[in-house]
Structures are given as structure tokens and as C-alpha cells.
């Protein structure tokens, strides 16, 4: 029953504002999703205002205060709220600046794989035939490798660094978007409104990107939030393996790699960057769950 009322609500008032209001209604019903959103906005502000908020420069080494614990522990100092790392850099400032890198990685990787995946997927699903076969076989080949291993090897080829890590991860994530787009385009393509547009004389490009694509976006948006968080995780993993952002960049994964030898001596240099990664990824995944509830009518109220 609920589904029926929802669809009529959309069709009687198709204005953008009503759709947004309906979306927000379902999204805000999920408490976790709202918490995730609030935390995410906080992270974005932190990233944007990092130079204003951070108490120290993230790369300055205070040689006289190496491996200081957080202020509440014995030996901690108020000048370094969350302590310092092995070469005397302020942990809090490095964590704040780290937000920039992680969110940047998420945005770039998701945009690259989303745009690339949509382009290729629409072409495959719209034209079918040999174009489709060739594209899907290539995607199968990429999916035949474990994604992190493939990203690792690609970075080894391209050279270690954050930019190459992002390119590698985007390439590895792309097939998921291609498959989703293709499947959605294939089901939409035979619908009446598409046939009507075709009869009215719409060209291929218009049919593909103006008529069909907007109706395929829901699963893609959900997948995009999922790959946003996976991209952050994978980039941190590559940084941890020494193939992502290079020291002294305050990237969370790289910070963890540098901290490995101190795990039994200074818990804060290991615990805090990982906690930052976990909290960020968790917030995005919570939002993703809410988005899925709000966008996917089949799963609504499950």
C-alpha cells in the first residue's frame, strides 16, 4: 500500500521541491543516517577550515617533545592536546589536515569512477550488440582481480603517490558503475516514454543522457556513497602499505604506517588515525543506508 501512495505523491506534484521534501522525509526517518550526515558536514567544515582550526603546522617537528601522550595522560601537555608522534609533530593538527586528504580522495575517486562508469555503461546498455560484449568482457577482466591487489600493482607501475593511488582505485571501482548503469539502461530503454521520445525524433545522445539516464540514477547514487567510503579505506590501505600518499603527508593511512613500530610504546599514534578513518567511513556508510532507504522504493520500510 505504501508504495502506491508514494508513487501518486510523486505524480501529482512533480515539482523538485516536493520530491526533495519526500526524499528528506524518508531520509530523516533513519536516525543513523541523520547522525552520519551531521558528522559528515562536521568533517567537511574541518577540512575546509583546517588552517584556521589546527593549532600547529602538521609538518613542523618539535624535536624537544617527541612521543608526548595526550593531555589527560601523565606527561601530556596542553599545547599538544592529542600528543605528538615519533618526530614531535602535533597529532591533532595532523588528524585535522588528514580530513582534507581523505575527503579529497573520496570525491575524486567517486567522480572519476562514476562519470567513467556512466559513460561506458550507457553506451553498453543503449547500443547492445558487439559494443556491449566487448565492454562487458573488459569489465569482467578487471573484476577478475582482487581490487586492492590490482590497485597495488597499478600503483607499483605508475609510481607510489596519492594521485596515482586515486587513479588506480578509480579504475578498479569503475566496473561496478558500468554494470549498474548498463542494467538500469537496459530496463528503461524498452519503456513507453523512451519509445515516445524516439518517435518524436530524439537523437541517440538525447535519448541516452536526457531521457534515460535521469531515471537510472537511484542505484548509482547509492553505489556512489558506497564507493566514497571504500575509496577512503583503500587509499588509506595503500598509504599503510607505503604505496599511497608519501611521508610527511598527514594522510591517515600513511600516519598509521609510520606509527607501526611504536604500537606497543605509544598507543595514541596508532589508535587515533585509525579511529579517524573508522569514524569517517562509518558516517558515510550510515548516510548510504539512509539514501538507499529514501531512494529505492523496493527497499522502503524493510
Amino acid at each position: 500500500m505504501t508504495e502506491v501512495t508514494v508513487t501518486t505523491a510523486i505524480s501529482t506534484d512533480p515539482s523538485r521541491r516536493a520530491r526533495l521534501a519526500e526524499f528528506w522525509y524518508y531520509f530523516s526517518e533513519n536516525r543513523g543516517a541523520v547522525i552520519g550526515l551531521v558528522f559528515f558536514v562536521f568533517l567537511v567544515l574541518l577540512a575546509l577550515c583546517a588552517p584556521l582550526i589546527a593549532p600547529h603546522d602538521p609538518t613542523i617537528q618539535y624535536r624537544e617533545s617527541v612521543l608526548l601522550p595526550p593531555f589527560w595522560e601523565e606527561g601530556g601537555r596542553a599545547a599538544f592536546l592529542l600528543g605528538t608522534d615519533a618526530v614531535g609533530r602535533d597529532m591533532l593538527s595532523r588528524l585535522i589536515y588528514g580530513t582534507r586528504f581523505s575527503l579529497f580522495v573520496g570525491v575524486i575517486v567517486t567522480t572519476l569512477s562514476l562519470v567513467g562508469g556512466i559513460l561506458v555503461g550507457v553506451i553498453a546498455g543503449y547500443f547492445r550488440g558487439w559494443v556491449d560484449t566487448v565492454i562487458m568482457r573488459i569489465m569482467d577482466i578487471i573484476l577478475a582481480f582482487p581490487s586492492l591487489l590490482l590497485a597495488l600493482v597499478l600503483v607499483a607501475v605508475l609510481g607510489p603517490g596519492l594521485t596515482n593511488a586515486m587513479i588506480a582505485i578509480a579504475l578498479v571501482f569503475q566496473p561496478h558503475f558500468v554494470r549498474l548503469t548498463r542494467a538500469a539502461v537496459m530496463t528503461e530503454k524498452t519503456r513507453d516514454y523512451v519509445v515516445a521520445a524516439k518517435v518524436a525524433g530524439a537523437g541517440h545522445l538525447r535519448l541516452m543522457f536526457k531521457t534515460i539516464l535521469p531515471n537510472c540514477m537511484a542505484p548509482l547514487i547509492v553505489q556512489a556513497t558506497l564507493s566514497f567510503s571504500s575509496a577512503i579505506l583503500d587509499a588509506a590501505a595503500l598509504g599503510f602499505l607505503g604505496m599511497g600518499a608519501q611521508p610527511p603527508t598527514p594522510e591517515w593511512g600513511t600516519m598509521l604506517a609510520e606509527a607501526r613500530e611504536f604500537i606497543l610504546r605509544a598507543w595514541w599514534v596508532v589508535t587515533l588515525p585509525g579511529l579517524a578513518i573508522l569514524a569517517t567511513v562509518l558516517a558515510i556508510n550510515l548516510m548510504g543506508d539512509g539514501l538507499r532507504d529514501a531512494l529505492d522504493p523496493k527497499l522502503k520500510r524493510s
Binding site: 582481480f145 597495488l152 596508532v270
Partner: protein, 334 residues
């Protein structure tokens, strides 16, 4: 069933050829001279270069080189490691049991904890149990496992001193490898405490590697159970007066398991390919660590061969899962 198998093979073979082309071109796409990279000799005279180039077959047409490579691969020849000069396939076979042992333990852990957790969450939907289980599952799903491993080492190995930090067994024990599985070999050796040591070494890696599959399985079991529990045949079973245990355990769970089995299969495929992060953290001598070490040693021959073997293993496991899936769910075959 036979047609189903043929259909799967028709997709698998071109994919494997594509994968072999990628592995083949990998060494040629690297910046630098592939002859120097493969021989591991940095400085060489033009004569020496020509000699090695001829030895490796680089002076032939590229298509001939590829076909030769593919022919070698089909006979099990994946090249020689640059560092150890041993055949890549031998090294793989030597390390593979460690990865298999760890993966199996991790997947058993994930299934044994994940499925009951998902079932309980579904039955007690909306309750505090459901919220706790699903909340934990979401945290597990979002976990950076390399950090999770370090955290467990700090707490369990460092503070509590319960488990060792790395490796497969204490250095005190030495016995010949029979099966390659440390748990079995240690029992066969008959040495006192050997099995205990092997078991303790496995605990933390198993938990770390099993965490994400566990979360995925719990989430999926819950949603599959919820779907099944609202079906008519479950209501009929309840109406017949069957106990909740029978209704949930026999009628509902069986059907809910169909999507979950696929997930488990796919996870096994990914794990067998080597748990790069887990194996690196715990110095577990398996396929994942081997690949990471090879990347750092610039052992391009191992990377090239290893990529192809790993992709092959994943494809075979996925094929097996597909066939198994066809067996438990006849609808899919058509």
C-alpha cells in the same frame, strides 16, 4: 546443468585470455627496459643485453611472444623469480596452503558467528538485540582492517599477552611440512604444545580477516530472513503449530540461505587470492604477503605470474560457486 556449465565456460575462457594479456603486457608497460627488469641486471653491455633479450625471446614479434607466453602458462610455466631464480609456480604452491588455512578459518568464523547473529536480528526485529547486532555489523563493515589488526595486537598480544604477534608457529617447534596446514602438521608431528602454538597464532589473523565477511554475512542473513519470514509458506508452517525453532531453522533459514551462500562463495574467492593487509600485519607467509613483498622487491616476474595465478584461482572458485548455486537453486539454471 551441462548447458549451464558450457555457458559459464564461454564467458570464462575469453576473460582468462584477457587476464593473460594484461599479465603479459604488465612487464612491457613498466617504465624502463623490460629486459633489464626481468634479468635483474642493472648495468650490462650491449652484447649482454642482446644475449638476454634473445634468451627471453624479446627479439621476436610481439604476437609470437604472447603466444609463447600463453603456451608456457598452459603448461604451468609462469616464469622465474628475479630475486630467488625459482619458478613462480613453485613459490606459489609453497605459500598457498598458509593462505588457504587462514581463509578457511576466517570464513568459518564469519559464518558461525554471522549467520546466527543475522537470524537473531531478523527474529527479534526492532529490538535492542537487533539494534546492537546491526550496529556492530555496520562498524565491522566500515572497519579499516589494517588498523583493527594493530589494535588487537596492542590489546590482546601486548597488554594481555594472550597471543603471539606474528608468524604461523613458535620457532621452538620444527617439523616437516606434510599437508602444509600448520594445524594438521602440528598434530601429526606429535610434539607437545605444537598444536596449541599453531592455534594461538591463528586466532588474531582469523578475527581480522573474518571481520568484514562476518559483517556482510550478518547483514545479508538478516535481510534475507526478513523477506522469507513474511512468505505464505512460513505463515502456513506457523499455523500448523510448528515450534518457532522448526519454522525458523528448517522452513525459513533454508530458503534465506540461497543469497547468503553466493556471498560466502565470493568472499572465499577474494580471500584465497591472499589477504594482503591481514597477512602483512601478522607476517603471515601467504600469497598476499608474497605479492606485497614482490612489489617492494621489484620482482616483476613474480608480480606478473602471481597476478595471473591469483586471477585464475578466483575464476575457478567463482565457477565452483556458480555450479553449487545451480545445484541448490534449480531456478537459476534456466
Amino acid at each position: 546443468m551441462f548447458r549451464f556449465l558450457l555457458g559459464r565456460l564461454a564467458v570464462l575462457i575469453p576473460t582468462f585470455i584477457g587476464v593473460s594479456i594484461i599479465a603479459f603486457s604488465f612487464i612491457r608497460l613498466l617504465p624502463g627496459d623490460p629486459v633489464a627488469l626481468l634479468s635483474g641486471e642493472r648495468v650490462m653491455s650491449p652484447e649482454r643485453h642482446a644475449e638476454i633479450s634473445h634468451q627471453l625471446g624479446f627479439d621476436r614479434h610481439i604476437v609470437v611472444q604472447y603466444l609463447d607466453y600463453l603456451w608456457g602458462v598452459l603448461r604451468g610455466d609462469f616464469g622465474l623469480s628475479i630475486v630467488t631464480k625459482k619458478p613462480v609456480i613453485d613459490q606459489f604452491l609453497e605459500l598457498f596452503p598458509a593462505t588457504v588455512e587462514l581463509s578457511l578459518c576466517a570464513i568459518i568464523f564469519a559464518v558461525v558467528v554471522g549467520i546466527p547473529a543475522g537470524v537473531i536480528a531478523a527474529i527479534k526485529r526492532g529490538s535492542i538485540f537487533d539494534q546492537i547486532i546491526m550496529g556492530t555489523a555496520l562498524v565491522g563493515f566500515s572497519m579499516p582492517i589494517f588498523w583493527w589488526g594493530l589494535l588487537l595486537i596492542i590489546v590482546v598480544s601486548g597488554m594481555l599477552q594472550w597471543t603471539p604477534v606474528s608468524g604461523r608457529i613458535s620457532l621452538m617447534f620444527f617439523f616437516p611440512s606434510v599437508t602444509g596446514f600448520m594445524l594438521i602438521d602440528s598434530l601429526l608431528s606429535g610434539q607437545e604444545g605444537a598444536f596449541q602454538s599453531a592455534f594461538n597464532h591463528l586466532i588474531l589473523p582469523t578475527i581480522v580477516l573474518g571481520t568484514i565477511p562476518l559483517a556482510v554475512i550478518a547483514r545479508q542473513t538478516r535481510s534475507a530472513m526478513l523477506e522469507v519470514l513474511s512468505e505464505d509458506y512460513v505463515r502456513t508452517a506457523r499455523a500448523k503449530g510448528l515450534s518457532t525453532f522448526r519454522v525458523v531453522g528448517i522452513h525459513a533459514l533454508r530458503n534465506a540461505m540461497i543469497p547468503v551462500v553466493t556471498t560466502i562463495g565470493l568472499q572465499i574467492g577474494v580471500m584465497l587470492a591472499g589477504a594482503i593487509l591481514t597477512e602483512t600485519i601478522f607476517s603471515w607467509p601467504g600469497i598476499g604477503k608474497w605479492m606485497v613483498d614482490s612489489v617492494f622487491r621489484r620482482d616483476y616476474a613474480v608480480i606478473q605470474g602471481g597476478l595471473l595465478i591469483i586471477a585464475g584461482v578466483i575464476m575457478l572458485v567463482n565457477l565452483a560457486v556458480d555450479l553449487l548455486y545451480g545445484l541448490i537453486n534449480p531456478r537459476i539454471r534456466h
